[in-house]
């Protein structure tokens, strides 16, 4: 994690392990440049061609997209497709999805921060067990529990409400949240806790005035990551909601696909519109998201 400013904790490796500073760029030159460099350019093309087509064809009139060369630059760009999408209830979808994302993030943080704090700050068997359970939770696929959730959500009377999407989504975002948060909280040095405890600070104060402020990086990673999960989730809305008024973006997109049929430019315009908000967040908060995910593989 980039937030870790101390030397790595000693492990089984014999090397004294100083933090790799700004160095790694230079050392890989001869290998990195010819093979991986060319590879990365190929991958760039693979990534960009579909994205380019997505945007350019969404600006085409239907006849140009279907009869002309779909890779050409739109000769007569139009926003007509976007109007079609906006007239098809897109704003309801957007509103519902935003509610789901915001509430999910709040729930994930409210539930995960204390768990991570306890996992880092206590040494009881119980907290170790809880931590391990969350660790295993990473491997539980949502599909595995969708049938029982259908039963459970029905019994709770939440079927076809936004809560039916929010609650399982938040629960399934928790394992990663706990792992990331406990990682950043562990980077808060023991000395600072000691200093605070000498001042007679309560655990609550230590959490609020030390652990939380110093874990801002982890907290923003978790927030963005959970929001992304909620924004892009498909299975829970598909199975646990039904009516149009509770429809979220992903499900709405799926419906557009049948509704617009061969009007591919309109389908593509709907996809573009669904990505715009997430893309805006990415531009603002890229660092938090990227560094958090990178930490998953660190060490």
């Amino acid at each position: 994690m980039s937030t870790d400013t101390r030397p790595a904790a000693p492990r089984q490796r014999s090397a004294p392990a100083p933090r790799p500073g700004r160095g790694p760029a230079r050392r890989r030159k001869p290998f990195g440049n010819p093979v991986a460099g060319v590879g990365s350019l190929i991958w760039l093309v693979i990534v960009l061609v579909p994205l380019y087509t997505l945007v350019s064809a969404s600006l085409m009139r239907q006849d140009q997209a279907l009869n002309g060369d779909p890779l050409a630059i739109p000769t007569d760009p139009t926003l007509e497709n976007y109007n079609t999408v906006l007239d098809s209830g897109f704003l309801t979808l957007l509103g519902n999805t935003a509610i789901v994302a915001v509430v999910t993030v709040v729930l994930v943080l409210v539930f995960s921060v204390p768990v991570a704090y306890v996992a880092v700050r206590t040494r009881s068997r119980l907290s170790s067990l809880a931590f391990r359970t969350f660790l295993l939770g990473v491997a539980i696929p949502a599909q595995a529990v969708i049938v029982p959730l259908y039963l459970l959500i029905g019994k709770m009377g939440l079927y076809d409400t936004l809560w039916a999407i929010i609650l399982p989504t938040a629960a399934f975002a928790m394992p990663v949240a706990v792992l990331v948060l406990s990682g950043t909280m562990r980077d808060v040095s023991e000395e600072m806790y000691e200093a605070m405890s000498l001042d007679g600070a309560s655990p609550v104060r230590m959490l609020w005035q030390l652990a939380v402020p110093l874990s801002r990086a982890g907290i923003s990673t978790v927030a963005i990551f959970s929001a992304l999960q909620a924004w892009n989730g498909f299975l829970f809305p598909l199975i646990l909601t039904q009516s149009e008024e509770n429809r979220v973006l992903t499900l709405g997109l799926f419906n557009f696909m049948t509704q617009f049929g061969v009007n591919i430019p309109a389908v593509l315009a709907a996809i573009v519109l669904s990505v715009v908000p997430i893309f805006a967040v990415y531009l603002v908060a890229r660092r938090a998201l990227v560094n958090g995910l990178m930490g998953v593989g660190g060490k």
């Binding site: 991958w43 996992a119 491997a139 049938v147 029982p148 259908y150 990682g183 973006l249 893309f279 998953v296």
Partner: protein, 309 residues
Amino acid sequence: MSHHTPVAKTRGDRKAAVGNVGRPPVSWALPGIVFFAVFAIIPLGIAVYLSFCDWDGLNSPSLTGLDNWSRLFKDSEFGQAAWLSLLLTTISWVFQTPVALLLGVWAAGRQRSRAVLSAIFFIPLLLSTTAIAMLFHALLDPNFGVIKEIGPWIGVDPNVMGSSTGALLVVAFVGGWQFMPFHTLIYQGGARQIPEVLYQAASIDGAGMVRQFFHITLPQLRHTMTTSSVLMIVGSLTYFDTVLIMTKGGPGTDTTILPYLMYRTGFQTYDLGYAAAIATALVVVATGISLIMVRLSGFGSMRSTREGM
């Protein structure tokens, strides 16, 4: 010091000296644990229970003993779905691991150009699986014709979705297109943690860059590889949106992987007990593979992987 958490292993001794002043009560973790249990752990248990039931989604589930399970083992559709899941997972792993490893190690360098490219590579991860599946569905649509333009260039038959092998490869490719940035980042993070001195020592010994890659980079990344592989395997065992949107399990049933079979059984024919049995089988396979990977890569790997998080 007999029961420190594995989390705090390396700093446990120091903590012991300080004592328990100012430590939070374990009960603080309870709301989070209960919440997670209600929506993730307990449903897992209910899934196992439902796998012994007959349930149509309307009436109450009724116990039928081992019926679903004996049916499962005789069901050729389940056999095919399990095989296809395994195949798709293997293809995905073989496709994603080398590419993500190379891109990740490459992106670990801190040049500006690499940072810019990495930022572009990340974009697919922002899109929902739904959006990506729909995008590729459109790109491969014979009416739209992008595939007609590009296909011949790269040796892809425009009617690739019509063939069984082609459709499965497309699903694997689309999954890779989406998740490559995630695994690239994991490897990038791992590569940046490799101590510089190892490379310096190797250079002094006269090891070339290729040797350094195979003797330092790869071995040093083995824990990273475990993490990435487990996530990759569990991820591709559960590709569902892609299949539902792009192939509907077809042509025929040739891309009907386990999660899609479960969805069809559960929520299209409302045979939810049997669907629960399929779901349970899916978890067993996913957890089994993860545990095997963790074991194979060394007992301590999960711990030291976790230390970096």
